[in-house]
């Protein structure tokens, strides 16, 4: 048996006798005999840490991580951006890692201030003034935004762009079974959403910027629909592209959501990531999740605390704006560190370099016979291709050549334009890598 419990045999005996008990089993007298586990769990006995580490290393060894031997051109909400040693070092400080939700602000100023800074950074980036302390991931943030939009508009019809990440659309659908929202898929035309094709009176519009195919949506048009119908505009933005794009707030978004993984988190097989959520002041009282505010302490010194708690489930219970309790605070702290590292110029630089790499790569791939654009609208760092072989097969072939070529696009994922391949390029891809990718690609489609 291995473990971390400090108790010596003598201490256990002493504690039991203090309690007037004979055996440790007596502690469980309240558990009916009939349901007690007689034989113990059918698991292996505890193993020492080095044995377990060896096992986990074996499992890790059975994966192919991205890197020089599997150069990453995959995105779709999970990107291979630079994460410097400094971000990893600071975000792994054990005070941040091993603390709980800051219920006692007097001893939690570290996390509280870091989250306050995160909220400020996200508000500045998204262009709307209020940001919360994080949600689980991009999908969860979108679900919460839709819930907020329905509550605010009083209408449960939700127009969801077919350009929204297909996983997120799936999650929206799953949760709509509970909330009863009426989700309407709004198709793409030429790579961007064709709002004219939807009917009924929407309470909420959901659109991604850029969308899943990498294209830049016409947000002015979406805003115009909202102004006309009274719907709330939810924009799923990409925090990296936001370094060079007009902010969703500037376009008139009511709620801005997004996936924050690109802000300092490893690919991590999909989690833990970071659900970004920001909104205009009008929706403050409907904000899901946690919010940190500035205040003062008994001596009048600046201090931070979670605030507007009355929205939260621990107080409002069934009437809460959301059921979120544990969120992704450590990822919000990570994002604050990463955005501090990037700063005003660095974020723009990452976006610019990613865009340059994507366009360079796209050009290279489009010069290959049989490879064509899936859609034509302008893109930033991600783009969709029609390829002459089955996308999944192509991906497998290129994996053998050392490239993670992208994500396959079926008809659902491509908003009806599939099948195809979704390719993402970040600022980490060198010209040499892109050229080698194009060369391998050419062979693989032959």
């Amino acid at each position: 048996m291995a473990g971390y419990a400090p108790h010596t045999e003598a201490e256990i005996a002493g504690m039991l006798s203090f309690l007037g008990l004979a055996t440790v089993d007596d502690l469980f007298a309240a558990v009916p005999e009939a349901i007690r586990l007689a034989g113990g769990l059918d698991l292996a006995p505890g193993a020492p840490e080095p044995d377990v580490m060896a096992h986990l290393q074996d499992l890790a060894g059975a994966n192919r991580p991205v890197g020089p031997s599997l150069v990453c051109f995959a995105g779709g909400g999970a990107y291979d951006h630079e994460v410097p040693a400094v971000t990893r070092a600071l975000a792994s400080r054990s005070e941040f890692v091993t603390s709980y939700t800051p219920y006692q602000p007097e001893v939690a100023q570290g996390v509280l201030q870091a989250v306050f800074e995160f909220q400020t950074l996200l508000a500045r980036l998204s262009g709307v003034p209020i940001a919360n302390a994080s949600l689980y991931d991009g999908a969860a943030a979108t679900v919460e935004a839709v819930n907020l939009g329905v509550a605010a508009s009083g209408r449960h019809r939700v127009w969801v762009s077919a350009g929204l990440n297909p996983s997120w659309r799936a999650v929206l659908a799953t949760f709509a079974a509970g909330t009863g929202h009426d989700l309407v898929d709004v198709p793409l035309a030429g790579g961007t959403t064709d709002w004219t094709s939807a009917d009924g009176d929407p309470g909420v519009l959901v659109v991604a910027y850029p969308n899943y195919l990498g294209c830049l949506e016409d947000l002015a048009q979406a805003r115009e629909v909202c102004d006309r119908t009274g719907a709330k505009l939810v924009v799923a933005f990409d925090p990296i592209c936001a370094g060079i794009l007009r902010s969703p707030g500037d376009w008139g978004a009511d709620v801005v959501v997004g996936e924050g993984q690109a802000l300092g988190m490893p690919l991590g097989f999909g989690g833990p990531y970071l659900g970004l959520f920001a909104c205009s002041e009008a929706h403050l009282r409907r904000l899901p999740g946690r919010l940190v505010g500035e205040t003062v302490d008994a001596d009048g010194r600046r201090a931070y605390v979670t605030t507007l708690r009355a929205r939260e489930q621990d107080i409002r219970r069934e009437k809460a704006t959301s059921n979120v309790c544990t969120n992704q605070t450590l990822m919000a702290v990570t994002a604050a560190i990463q955005l501090g590292w990037l700063g005003t110029t660095g974020l723009a630089e990452v976006a610019t370099r990613s865009a340059r790499g994507a366009h360079y790569c796209r050009q290279g791939l489009l010069s290959i016979a049989g490879v064509e654009p899936l859609v034509e609208a302008p893109v930033v760092r991600e783009f969709a291709l029609r390829v002459p072989v089955e996308p999944a097969t192509l991906i497998d072939r290129l994996a053998d050549e050392g490239f993670l070529a992208g994500l396959p696009l079926d008809d659902d994922a491509s908003g009806g334009n599939g099948p195809g391949l979704l390719v993402a390029v970040t600022e980490r891809r060198t010209r040499t890598e892109i050229d080698a990718f194009a060369a391998a690609f050419e062979k693989a489609v032959r």
Partner: protein, 518 residues
């Protein structure tokens, strides 16, 4: 009220200098400037790879009407200042690694460092979640291994690992409940929860499209069986329980409860936040539960990260398996091709996470689980319960014990008598405890206990720590009754980085960002 309608105190003394450390408790108690106050135009930390990609003007790539006219104003600091700032912030943060954190309901046990090392393995951390299955066999095997182990721990048939936290698990469970009832061709509207339940339970019920029916606790702190029977009818979709419940008490009538709920065709949902108490001793499945969520960030020691990430897998009995979210990692049949792949159950309720859940948290949990194994997990429960009972017994002379019977992994005390005698409230006790070197217990929860102090020591605290904690709580109570005791308590804490924080002002004069300050 709009944000920032009033001025806030600004107590950064002198210029905001990255190299000035007086915000570190080590050197005094000045406020730490924000990143924005440390910012200087033209300064930078970032360094990016040299790529050789042609430097085409951005104008040629992105249409002008989509472009920002000015860069997003974030902050501009040197790497040195960035490091100093966040290192100092870390010095203003209490954590398990600094001392005991007996926060009831939260299971703040020691988080083994080996799990950090596992989560940092490039073969786990640098894997794209959308990569083809041939490149992710290790991850798929890991998920299958964890799912199987969690099913054994809970006594269930299958599980989804997608939910990112307990509350997400709850909602998933309720949607499973809904899908199951619908598959039986019936539409039910009510879910029962006890009045002692955690707030996420009723909130999830609402989001699951159900109405909450609250049943009271009896004077032993358990579900009042008669009251429960009274609300059970054909419209009940199920009941959500945690056992041991939030009072730290085992629901002894659990078999009767299960029978009664099942009898009306309802399902039993197990809120696994308190699973630490019964690991290897009794399983939710054996108690009669149909759906179980686990809080891996509690029971399986994946650190809470200042409020997250967590992981809230949901395990279900065989009849609910076809409804589980997908895709799930599965062993593939047949000797050829990859050994593991993805599969979505037949009647899946659908996806509930962008990808596959908080994967690196899951890897940590598996590590913890394997280190402990069958014997170690059982010992975890035994010692967690031993510690809580020791504290309860020792402190019962000093504080009120609303339910005076053996507890499980946590004990709920009350400061009612203390308050009556001295005016010192549960909150004051909590704040004083901070100065004694311990995190405070959970206070004012569960809501049904007046002036509640909810202590969960966990199994990783030693007897010496329990003794010190008990002594500190005893001294606080004793001091409350002496001359000036009330004021000392009401003025606490004194020795922390900031003193008692004005929460009312925060809500009244909302300053949710640095830009909302005046």
């Amino acid at each position: 009220m709009s944000p920032g309608t009033d001025t806030t105190a600004d107590v950064i003394p002198g210029p905001a200098a990255g190299g000035r450390a007086s915000s570190a408790p080590l050197l005094g108690r000045d406020a730490e400037p924000t990143l924005f106050e440390l910012s200087q135009p033209g300064r930078r930390s970032w360094q990016l790879r040299t790529t050789g990609v042609p430097e085409v003007p951005l104008d040629d790539l992105v249409p002008a009407d989509h472009r920002r006219t000015t860069p997003a104003p974030l902050a501009e600091v040197s790497e040195r200042d960035l490091v100093a700032h966040f290192t100092r912030l870390s010095h203003r943060q209490f954590s398990v690694d600094l001392g005991a954190y007996p926060l009831g309901s939260c299971t703040m046990k020691y988080n083994p460092k080996i799990c950090d090392a596992v989560a940092g393995l490039p073969g786990l951390a640098d894997v794209h979640p959308g990569a083809p299955v041939s490149t992710i066999q290790g991850w798929l095997e890991l998920l299958v291994e964890l799912e199987e182990a969690l099913c054994e721990v809970t006594g269930m048939a299958a599980a989804t690992l997608q939910p990112a936290a307990g509350a997400a698990g709850e909602l998933t469970g309720l949607l499973l409940m809904r899908a199951w009832h619908e598959a039986q061709g019936r539409q039910r509207t009510k879910v029962i929860i006890p009045d002692s339940a955690h707030g996420t339970n009723p909130a999830s019920v609402t989001l699951g499209g159900y109405t909450t029916v609250t049943v009271p606790s009896d004077d032993r702190g358990c579900v009042d069986l008669a009251a429960l029977r009274a609300v059970l009818d054909d419209d009940v979709a199920g009941i959500m329980l945690t056992n041991p419940n939030t009072l730290g008490l085992f629901e002894e009538d659990i078999e009767a409860i299960a029978a009664a709920v099942h009898e009306v065709g309802g399902l039993l949902y197990y809120d696994g936040a308190n699973l630490n108490a019964i690991l290897g001793v009794v399983r939710p499945g054996d108690m009669g539960f149909d759906i179980v969520h686990l809080n891996l960030h509690k029971t399986f020691a994946t650190p809470h990260g200042g409020g997250g990430p967590g992981a809230g897998p949901v395990a279900v009995s065989a009849r609910l398996t076809p409804f589980l979210p997908g895709p799930r990692a599965v062993r593939l049949p047949g000797p050829d091709g990859p050994a593991y792949g993805w599969a979505t159950p037949d009647r899946s309720i659908g996806r509930i996470h962008s990808w596959h859940g908080n994967a690196l948290v899951l890897a940590r949990a598996l590590t913890y689980l394997l280190v402990h194994g069958s014997d170690g997990l059982r010992q975890v429960a035994q010692l967690a319960v031993l510690n809580a009972n020791w504290l309860r017994h020792r402190l019962s002379a000093t504080y009120d014990v609303p339910y005076d019977r053996p507890c499980m992994h946590e004990c709920v005390l009350s400061a009612t008598s203390l308050k009556k005698a001295t005016g010192v409230r549960a909150l004051d006790v909590a704040k004083r405890l901070l100065e004694s070197g311990f995190h405070a217990p959970t206070v004012y929860f569960p809501l049904i206990v007046d002036e509640a102090l909810m202590l969960e020591p966990t199994e990783t605290e030693s007897l010496q720590t329990l003794e010190a904690l008990a002594s500190a709580l005893e001294e606080i109570a004793a001091d409350a009754g002496t001359e000036g005791g009330h004021d000392r308590a009401a003025g606490a804490p004194h020795a922390t980085p900031v003193r008692r924080v004005d929460e009312a002002r925060a809500a009244r004069q909302l300053v949710p960002t640095f830009d909302a300050r005046r």
